[in-house]
């Protein structure tokens, strides 16, 4: 019963008492009626027997068997009397008619008292035949007769009646079946009635249950109408109050959430603005620096091509070195901003590791020798899966840092296989990094050894770049270091199977011959234009330079179509470099090779160039790069 719902319980409550009552009443009344019938039959039998006894008194007294037989026959006519026997006072049978049940005892001597015997099918009634008493009620008779009162009973004989109980049994069975039938019928009726009437009870409860269910689903506006009275009303009211409370609490919660979200959003926007500001700053800063740097580099390159005195040669070298250092710094900034913009898409492929290590070492060897530290790498036959250029950048930055921060001792590049990955370690015996700083060194502009922010020591972007690149490539980066004991920077890269005919394209091409290449140059900065133009001329290119499209078109009027277009991105006037190139291509052919130069390191510029499918060089452009680009473009063209 514990798991029954309200409907079942109400039904039980309604049906069970009725059932019990029906059973009790049926049993009671059926049994009493059956008993009544039996009693009636017995009484009837006794009545007949007594009547017969009374009627046959004189006949028995006078031994008139014929009269007795007649009397007996008349009794036998009764429908359930099956046997009649009359015996006299000596036990002699005067009359025996019908059938007698032999399972019941019969008596040889007449009984003085009435008896009733019963077997399964028969009821036997025995009545004594007594001489009727005549009250001789005068004193004299009484007196006269008072002596010697008769000791003998006035018993004249017995009448025995056998009554069949078959009919009675049938009646009893009929009664029973009727009773049971009635009880079942009442049960059905009461069940139906209970089902109907229980709706009055279960209806409201189920209504409440449904409402509660809906409230549970979140519909706090759900309310119950007033149902019933007393407890039902209280229940409905309670549910409504609960819903109101829930709604209220929900509203509160929502409000709090909204408030928190608004605040978070505000913070996020703040953070985003900050980042954006930073990027813009970087872009602006680097762009503003690039133009002059670009020109400087070009001029210096051109200067280096001229003949100089020994002293002037040295000066030129120093200038070149300084310019290069500045370019490196600017490159680092550019890399960071590229990474920030998310426009760097690594082209991952398999390549041999050792050549990359050797190139990096080649770059850092001079510095290492200058600081009198050993720079070694363990030979490794492995090929790895990564972006070669970016990988070299990572390795280069790590080795550069190692060299810088090691005063004496050595820097070792070693590889160790870990399952299907290769762990490449750059170990140095330098100053080491204490645990507190091991997190922050990967942040931009953090230099642990450069409190005075000397530009000789770089900008502090190397590790930040390494961190972002390793994240981009999915290589694990780890650091183990203790102050005074050196550091071990390690990256994990997947090992690749060697590929035949691997393109060892590292971007360094043999400088080809550009003589006679007609190059169109558009730049609104006169200095830059001049510098670039001059450099191109030194490479024997035919240069047509202009500051905008109109001018250029005028200049190209009577010339042969150009081979390559090089345009600055930001131009004065309505058109930018893209539009200009587009216009020129319209004029001279859609497949005319073109390139963009920009001092703008912003993400938008990079994206636009990429979308247009144009190579983009950043100012300051290294001459070698420019040349390589021109070669490629002219090859392609």
């Amino acid at each position: 019963m514990k798991h029954w719902g309200i409907r079942a319980r109400v039904m039980l409550v309604a049906v069970l008492p009725v059932l019990a009552l029906a059973i009790v009443l049926t049993v009671f009344y059926t049994s009493t009626r059956v008993a009544d019938h039996f009693e009636t039959t017995t009484a009837r039998g006794q009545a007949f027997a007594r009547q017969l006894a009374a009627a046959s008194e004189y006949a028995v007294f006078s031994g008139n068997t014929e009269a007795v037989r007649q009397l007996a026959a008349s009794v036998l006519l009764e429908h359930d009397v099956v046997g009649v026997r009359v015996i006299d006072r000596n036990g002699e049978t005067l009359v025996a008619n019908g059938e007698f049940d032999h399972s019941l005892s019969s008596f040889t001597e007449p009984l003085a008292n009435a008896r009733v015997l019963q077997s399964e099918h028969t009821l036997r009634v025995i009545e004594p035949i007594l001489a009727s008493r005549l009250e001789l009620d005068d004193g004299l008779s009484a007196v006269a007769l008072s002596i010697g009162s008769p000791a003998s009973l006035p018993l004249l004989g017995n009448v025995t009646l056998d009554i069949s109980l078959t009919h009675l049994n049938e009646q009893r069975n009929a009664l029973l079946s009727t009773g049971v039938g009635l009880a079942l019928f009442m049960l059905l009726v009461s069940t139906a009635l209970a089902a109907y009437m229980s709706r009055g009870v279960t209806g409201p409860i189920r209504q409440v249950a449904r409402a509660v269910g809906r409230i549970g689903e979140g519909r706090f506006a759900e309310r119950l109408p007033n149902i019933g009275g007393g407890s039902l009303r209280k229940l409905a009211q309670g549910v409504n109050e609960m819903a109101a409370q829930l709604a209220h609490a929900n509203d509160d919660l929502n409000r709090q959430i909204a408030d928190a979200t608004a605040e978070l959003r505000m913070r996020k926007e703040e953070a985003e603005r900050a980042t954006l500001a930073k990027s813009r700053f970087l872009a602006a800063a680097s762009h503003d620096l690039r133009q002059p740097m670009h020109a400087l580099g070009l001029f210096v390159a051109e200067l280096a091509q001229h003949q100089h005195s020994a002293a002037a040669e040295k000066l030129v070298q120093r200038v070149a070195a300084s310019a290069e250092a500045m370019e490196d710094l600017l490159d680092s900034l550019l890399d960071i901003s590229k990474l920030d913009a998310g426009v760097l898409h690594p082209s991952v492929r398999a390549f041999p590791l050792m050549p990359a290590i050797e190139r990096v070492m080649a770059v850092q060897r001079a510095r290492a020798e200058a600081r009198k530290i050993e720079l070694k790498a363990r030979a490794t036959p492995f090929w790895i899966t990564s972006d070669p250029i970016l990988f070299e950048r990572i390795l280069g930055n790590l080795v550069s840092n190692a060299v810088r921060y090691t005063n004496d001792g050595r820097v070792l590049i070693a590889c160790r296989q870990r399952g299907d990955r290769l762990r490449i370690e750059v170990r140095d015996s330098g100053v080491g990094i204490d645990a507190d700083s091991q997190e922050i060194i990967f942040q931009e502009f953090v230099q642990l050894d450069n409190p005075e922010r000397s530009r000789d020591k770089g900008l502090g972007l190397g590790l930040a770049i390494v961190h972002r690149l390793t994240e981009l490539l999915g290589h694990g980066l780890s650091l183990r270091s203790r102050p005074g004991l050196g550091s071990v920077f390690a990256i994990e890269v997947p090992i690749a199977s060697p590929v035949e005919d691997a393109a060892t394209d590292d971007g360094a091409r043999q400088p080809g011959d550009l003589a006679g290449t007609r190059v169109v140059l558009i730049d609104d900065d006169a200095l830059a234009r001049e510098a670039t133009g001059s450099l191109l001329s030194s490479w024997k290119c035919e240069v047509t330079a202009a500051s905008d499209l109109t001018e250029l078109l005028a200049a190209l009027k009577n010339c042969e179509p150009p081979h390559i277009i090089i345009s600055d991105f930001r131009l004065q006037g309505p058109n930018n470099g893209l539009a200009t190139i587009h216009a020129l291509r319209k004029r001279f052919g859609a497949d005319l090779p073109a390139a963009l130069i920009s001092g703008d390191t912003g993400a938008d510029t990079l994206r636009l160039a990429r979308n247009a499918g144009l190579p983009l060089l950043h100012k300051p452009v290294r001459p070698a790069r420019l040349r390589a680009l021109l070669n490629r473009l002219s090859d392609a063209g």
Partner: protein, 311 residues
């Protein structure tokens, strides 16, 4: 001397007076009547006795006792004792009394069954049984055509039946007798008796004639169309054609006469049958049986004449 003698005389006088008075108060009743029951026939008998004795004896002179609460002391000083009924007779006979005792209103059989008085006093009786000759006289006067009387004799009435037989012959009546020992034999005996036309005479033998058997005997006699002559009014009411009996009043008067004799100094009369009698007729039965009878008074007168006229 004067004062002392006066006191003595006064004292003696006082004693005498009180003795006289007390003696007067304690004067024993002349007649003590013991009754078996305080109702019915006994009451009637006692009343008749009283009425008859009235001039002679005052009510104060008669003490009536219940047979159940009889004590010896109660009889002291009385001159005669009357016992009414068999029960009283038994109660009185156990007391050893010196005064004469008259038993009345009981069957002869009962009286003769009593033990002899132990006290030396004589006793006598007025019993209920009618003289046999009177019974035969009734038969002769009431049903002169019939000429035959049937008698069922039981174990207690052998002697009586013998006397009846003798009396019947005197009256030129044929007698048929069946002797039976128990009520079982009644019917066959009756069949034999009443095979021929006869008058059935009831005898007070309780083995045969009792309240259980009377109905069937009546029916049997009725079916044989034989008139039953009974010995009480109840029989007549029950269905007997004729009844011969003495009422308690008559017996009471007779008892009173006997008591008067004794009080007058005479002796107790010998045990006797009742002097006065009554006849009862059931007219319905007479009609059913088709018998015409002379009126009762006439029959009674004629019977009376027979008794008084010497043979």
């Amino acid at each position: 001397m004067h004062r002392a003698s006066r006191t003595a005389i006064a004292f003696l006088l006082a004693i005498l007076t009180s003795a006289l008075v007390a003696g007067g108060a304690w004067a024993a009743p002349a007649l003590v009547v013991v009754v078996g029951e305080r109702s019915g026939a006994h009451e009637e008998t006692v009343k008749a006795m009283r009425d008859a004795l009235l001039p002679r004896l005052a009510d104060a002179d008669i003490l009536i006792l219940d047979a159940r609460s009889v004590t010896k002391a109660a009889f002291n000083g009385s001159r005669v004792v009357v016992a009414v009924g068999s029960e009283a007779a038994k109660a009185v006979s156990t007391e050893a009394l010196r005064q004469p005792v008259l038993h009345t209103l009981l069957p002869r059989e009962s009286y003769e069954a009593l033990a002899a008085p132990a006290g030396g006093g004589r006793n006598s009786a007025i019993y209920l049984d009618q003289p046999v000759r009177r019974q035969m006289a009734l038969l002769a006067e009431a049903l002169p055509d019939w000429g035959r009387v049937a008698i069922l004799a039981g174990p207690n009435s052998q002697e009586l039946v013998a006397r009846l037989e003798t009396a019947a012959r005197e009256f030129q009546l044929l007698v048929a007798i069946e002797r039976i020992t128990s009520d079982r034999d009644i019917y066959p005996a009756l069949q034999r008796l009443l095979g021929e036309r006869a008058m059935l005479l009831a005898v007070p033998d309780s083995v045969i004639f009792n309240s259980f058997t009377i109905q069937n005997i009546l029916l049997t006699s009725y079916r044989s169309r034989a008139p039953l002559v009974g010995f009480s009014a109840a029989y007549v009411r029950a269905g007997a054609l004729l009844g011969l009996y003495s009422t308690p009043t008559q017996i009471g008067e007779q008892t009173a006469d006997a008591v008067k004799d004794v009080l007058d100094g005479g002796a107790l009369p010998p045990p006797q049958a009742p002097r006065a009698f009554e006849i009862g007729i059931n007219q319905n039965v007479a009609r059913s049986l088709g018998i015409t009878l002379k009126p009762e008074s006439e029959i009674a007168a004629r019977m009376q004449r027979r008794e008084t006229v010497p043979r």
